[in-house]
Amino acid sequence: MATDEKPPRTARTRLAVAGARSSTESVFGARGRGDRLGNRFFLAFLLLGMAMAITGLAAMIIWAIIEGSPRLSMDLITNGPSTLAPETAGYRPAILGSIYVIGGVIALIVPLGVGAAVYLEEFADKTRWWNRLIELNIQNLAGVPSIVFGILGLAFIVRSPLSLGAVPAAGAVTIALLVLPTVIIAAREAIRAVPPSIREGSLALGATQWQTIYRQVLPAAMSGILTGVILAVARAIGEAAPLLLVGAVTFVTSDPSFFGPGFTTLPTQIFDWARRPQEEFQVLAAAGVLIMLALVLVMNSFAVWLRNRFEQKW
């Protein structure tokens, strides 16, 4: 039935073609020099926007260096806080508190985060409602404000049922729960990137599923998982809001212990100094920011480098 004849060009088709052409031209048509100039302006505009974004954040770092560097000395690390001698006061208990909290966080998030990611990627049947619930739930938890985790910490970890009291351990549990979704999401992506052929090869040689995961999948996904963990730890170092609620703002002059009451951390101590109106304390706060920034930025850069370096194309 098909014919090679063109349909006759009636007035209607001609009209339709003209209409389509003019609308295409009105959307896409180049308009000579004006358009080229517009293109230049647009590019300049884009560059300006990005330059402003990066300058804003870079200004923050440069400001911290200018403001805080005169105060940089070993005193800052070895001395405790003091309201009488702000010139020699330091962050010793705060740094120790941070180390305890971060140690606890790492001990919790590595097994829990990797375990959850392995379950969701390797075992979970996506058609079951509970597995979908877990997935949606993790996505939502990642967006819950940090201070709400502080409320959870205050209600259930500091008080009953865990009843730890306002100790570094309580801070560690609270922050670990806060950063756990980030670790799970990163670890899942890393595990998903391992090609199925590796699993199939291992299973075909007679390995059980757990042997396959433990000996093949996890080592292959290691750099991605490590990236996620480092990013989470960097975030945990700078997180202050939930710690305010689990009682980390007390003025502590002696070294803390993991289950001992009365602790502070680097960010909460900085907050405490920043609240005081005197100039010396503000400088002290800026010096603290400098220490914290150095830690966090180095860790973040390392994590991003690690990911880009070992991003394997299978």
Binding site: A30, L43, M50, L57, P145
Partner: protein, 319 residues
């Protein structure tokens, strides 16, 4: 001939005794491992339940003493005074102020950066700037708060001397600082969304003679719109929940104001402020934390669910 052969062999396989592929032993170890891993994943549900339970039980104690309509529609927030008022409107408007100024800063800067990175930047530039943004995304909020308080506030006063600056705290300054904080978030999510627009769409437009500006603005941007909206929704949710910057730079005066130079308290700042003071368990001030926290949780939850849906949609279409 061939058909017959297949039928015969097929029938033969069906009749022969089947070798079991089951493991010879029940492999309890494997099952234990699976249960342990499932428990790790299930913990997240427990955490959410814990959050909801702690907020609800605390809020229930609060609403036993304060009627819910007074909380939601009252315009005076003074929970610590002898003549206590529990109208949440002032601290909600404080939060909205922050969201507004944060978006004023982060939407243009974030989207311009994203369009540049996804459409214009040469590969080498992109490979330097994208990781840089990711690193900057991790700047601790306390650091930004101190920066806002000590640098941004005097700086903005120099730039806008005609505004009525009073006191060290200003809600607009805090908002701008929060905006700077979330620029990397907006930029990187929108960049991902725009890069997931298939090449075919771009090439089609170029083939029709479109300039780069038109391809970016009229083809790629609209095609990526759901991802871009998701980025903005997440930015709003982040701005609502931001605590330290607001606590340090916006002050602690709960008042209804739309003047960016005035001090005003937000919901998160109230919680932080109350927690750092001496709160004794069981007082009404203790329970206000939970009531305000519940409201905060609901607000961000709605935003996040919305964003998750949007992101899923743009993934379904283009991948």
């Amino acid at each position: 001939m061939t058909t017959a052969g297949i039928t015969v062999s097929g029938g033969g396989a069906g009749n022969s005794p089947r070798r079991s592929l089951e493991a010879p032993s029940p492999r309890y170890g494997e099952k234990t491992v699976k249960v342990i891993l499932a428990a790790c994943a299930g913990l997240s549900v427990l955490v959410t339940t814990g959050i909801v339970l702690s907020l609800l039980s605390g809020a229930a104690d609060f609403f036993r003493e304060v009627p819910i309509h007074e909380f939601l529609f009252g315009t005076t927030w003074a929970p610590a005074f002898a003549d206590a008022h529990f109208g949440v409107i002032p601290i909600v408007t404080g939060t909205l102020n922050i969201v507004f100024w944060a978006l004023v800063v982060s939407i243009p800067l974030g989207l311009l950066s994203a369009i540049y990175l996804s459409e214009y930047a040469p590969n080498r530039v992109r490979k330097t700037i994208k990781p840089m943004l990711e690193v900057l995304e991790g700047i601790p909020t306390v650091a930004i708060g101190l920066f806002a308080l000590m640098f941004l506030r005097p700086f903005l006063e120099d730039v806008f001397p005609f505004l009525d600056w009073t006191g060290p705290h200003a809600i607009g300054v805090a908002g701008v600082a929060v905006g700077l904080l979330i620029v990397p978030l907006v930029a990187s999510i929108s960049d991902d969304a725009m890069r997931s627009v298939p090449r075919g769409l771009r090439e089609g437009a170029y083939a029709l003679g479109a300039s780069k500006l038109r391809v970016s603005a009229r083809v790629v941007f609209p095609a990526a719109i759901s991802g871009i909206v998701a980025a903005i929704v997440l930015a709003v949710s982040r701005a609502i929940g931001e605590t330290m910057v607001v606590l340090m730079a916006a002050g602690a005066r709960p008042q209804i104001t739309f003047d960016p130079t005035k001090s005003a308290q937000t919901m998160t700042a109230f919680i932080g402020q109350t927690a750092t003071g001496e709160i004794s368990f069981g007082t009404i001030a203790y329970y206000t934390i939970f009531a305000v926290g519940a409201l905060l949780f609901v607000m961000t939850l709605v935003m996040n669910l919305f964003a998750v849906r949007l992101v899923r949609r743009f993934r379904e279409v283009y991948e």
